[in-house]
């Protein structure tokens, strides 16, 4: 059983231990901070209007799949990562909806969940008309 910290020697040991813990914590803090992922600023990608096929144009934004879908209400940009487990959803022109190949998630042309485990609608991205192309930011 450890003795209670009654004399000076025990206090010194405690202080040294605390100091060592603080030093190790400082080093670990710096290294841990550097290990965290870096938040990239929003990026922009241009999607040519001539790339449209079956009413949808696919592209990549910051390493993730995105798409511009032309709906009766106008063009809409979606992130194609399923909100359930991040698999890439597929556009089904016949059903006019998105289907996820992993766990059977289904979304309509507005990105709303129709079926399956996805907890949220597909993420919408900012879209800007730039003449013969669209600029997607997100």
């Amino acid at each position: 059983m450890p003795e209670p910290f009654t004399n000076r020697r025990d206090f010194l040991n405690l202080a040294l231990g605390a100091w060592a813990a603080a030093a190790a914590g400082g080093v670990a803090g710096v290294l841990g901070a550097s290990a965290l992922p870096v938040h990239e600023p929003p990026q922009t990608v241009k999607v040519q209007k001539s790339d449209l096929k079956d009413g949808i144009a696919l592209a990549e934004l910051g390493g993730s799949p995105v798409a511009v879908l032309v709906t009766p209400a106008g063009p809409v940009a979606f992130s194609l990562s399923c909100t359930h487990a991040r698999c890439t959803v597929r556009w089904d022109p016949a059903a006019r909806g998105f289907a996820c190949p992993c766990h059977g998630g289904k979304f309509d042309a507005e990105g709303r969940v129709l079926a399956g485990p996805p907890p949220a609608p597909l993420r919408r991205l900012d879209l800007k008309d730039a003449g013969d192309a669209w600029e997607i930011t997100g």
């Binding site: 000076r8 020697r9 010194l12 040991n13 202080a15 040294l16 100091w19 060592a20 603080a22 030093a23 400082g26």
Partner: protein, 459 residues
């Protein structure tokens, strides 16, 4: 030495009996009156001088040559005039002869006396009346160089003599018989006569300052003629001299080559504007476009032109503030024009300061390993706009300049912001001393611990 020996030998042969004179007395007389009096006929024509019979004298067996071929002439002259013929062999004249051009100049095209145009009256340029003499040489060159038929074979123009005659040089030489003014052979080394396109040529743009400077940089000579001897040195220090490779003008670029003249004030704007297109355009569109300046000394009037603000030969920008250095030449010191000039000068300086800072920042980012093509593109666009701003100043519209400066300044600021992301400035280092306090605290604790261990209770 070689030449003297040769002359001595020739002198001895010349005294032998020469029967050529029996028929060719005029030629013999011309020869005897020339510098070549020591030569015998056979020295150039071979054959047999002493033969009484004409056929024997002209015998092909004795290698008789009636009229030496042009291609042989230089070789014959070379036995004494080695240096000159060597230079001549390098010339376009010799090249024309080698090509088979019957009009290619040879030694005797220039070195016979003009009044007696046969080969026997040999004379050099020191001879007052010789075709190569100072006051005749232009006409001699023009004999071929103004002949359209002859020049067609070499593809050369034929207006040089006409231009030269109209120039100050030509007038002084041809009309005033003024020995100081330049004539053909002063610029085109007479035997080699290289083309101005040849970089070795004295007349090549690279060498013009040296060539013209021989007289126009001569203080004594130019002072005598009431001209500024400093112009060549000014040009040599100018941006034009540094940028010859980019097509910047040397002497002939502005003053002309054969028609060398001081550009007419009315023509200066057009002349500079051929390269400095932006400034010329803005100047014409601005208030100075129709403005006329009257020289108070000569009362000569001319449109306001480039050399009113820029030194004609140095070409440099007026020193800032422009109002004080350039505008004050015509405008009153307390006028609003001076103030506006100074204001534009400040705008221009601010733009350049921004640009320098941006270039430094981009370079710093590059050194840190960031290749930033989009930033580089934006910066070169700003470079171009800053460059165009210099044109804008010539339109002397302070409002336009201020608007452009604001627009460029906004973009500079945006770019600076982007670049700053890649070039963190001063690191925040406040924690370094804090760390050392912490370190000394730890070392102090270790010291206390060690002392405790050494003390009797510690053991």
């Amino acid at each position: 030495m070689k030449r003297l020996l040769l002359l001595a030998a020739l002198a001895s042969t010349a005294s032998a009996e020469n029967r050529c004179v029996d028929c060719h007395e005029p030629q013999q007389k011309l020869l005897a009156d020339s510098a070549h009096l020591v030569f015998g006929c056979a020295d150039c024509h071979n054959g047999r001088e002493e033969a009484e019979d004409m056929d024997a004298a002209h015998s092909p067996a004795a290698d008789f040559v009636g009229r030496p071929a042009p291609s042989d002439l230089a070789r014959m002259c070379a036995s004494c005039h080695e240096k000159e013929t060597k230079a001549f062999e390098l010339s376009p004249h010799a090249a024309a002869t080698r090509r088979g051009d019957p009009g290619g100049a040879t030694c005797i095209s220039c070195h016979t006396l003009a009044a007696t145009p046969t080969a026997h009256a040999i004379a050099d340029c020191g001879d007052e009346g010789a075709p190569s003499g100072r006051f005749q040489v232009a006409a001699t060159c023009a004999r071929c160089h103004s002949d359209a038929e002859a020049m067609k074979r070499s593809g050369l123009r034929i207006d040089q003599f006409a231009q030269y005659r109209a120039s100050a040089h030509g007038y002084n030489v041809l009309e005033e018989k003024e020995g100081d003014a330049a004539t053909c052979a002063d610029c085109h080394s007479p035997h080699e006569a290289p083309s101005a396109r040849d970089p070795r040529s004295e007349t090549h743009p690279r060498n013009q300052a040296h060539l013209c400077g021989a007289c126009h940089g001569d203080v004594k000579l130019m002072t005598e003629h009431g001209k500024d001897p400093g112009v060549v040195a000014k040009w040599q220090a100018s941006a034009h001299a540094r940028n010859l490779d980019l097509g910047a003008p040397s002497c002939a670029g502005c003053h002309g080559a054969h028609y060398s003249h001081v550009p007419e004030p009315a023509a200066i704007r057009e002349s500079c504007g051929r390269c400095h297109e932006g400034p010329a355009r803005e100047l014409a569109a601005g208030p100075h476009g129709p403005a006329v300046h009257t020289d108070p000394a000569t009362l000569a009037s001319a449109p306001v032109h480039c050399a009113h603000c820029h030194d004609a030969h140095g070409g440099a920008k007026p020193l800032p503030p422009y109002g004080a250095t350039a505008c004050a030449a015509c405008h009153a010191a307390d006028s609003h024009e001076i103030a506006e000039g100074n204001a534009m000068s400040d705008l221009s300086a601010a733009l350049h300061t921004d640009l320098v800072a941006l270039h430094q920042k981009l370079e710093e980012a590059r050194r840190r390993g960031h290749d930033l093509p989009s930033c580089r593109e934006t910066l070169s666009a700003l470079d171009a706009r800053t460059h165009d701003f210099a044109s804008l100043v010539h339109g002397v519209s302070p409002a336009k300049c201020a608007a452009e400066r604001e627009a460029v300044g906004k973009e500079s600021k945006a770019l600076m912001g982007r670049l700053s992301e890649f070039t963190p400035g001063e690191r925040r280092l406040w924690w370094v001393p804090v760390m050392w306090v912490f370190v000394f605290l730890g070392v102090g604790l270790l010291f206390l611990k060690a002392r405790k261990l050494k003390s009797p209770q510690g053991r």
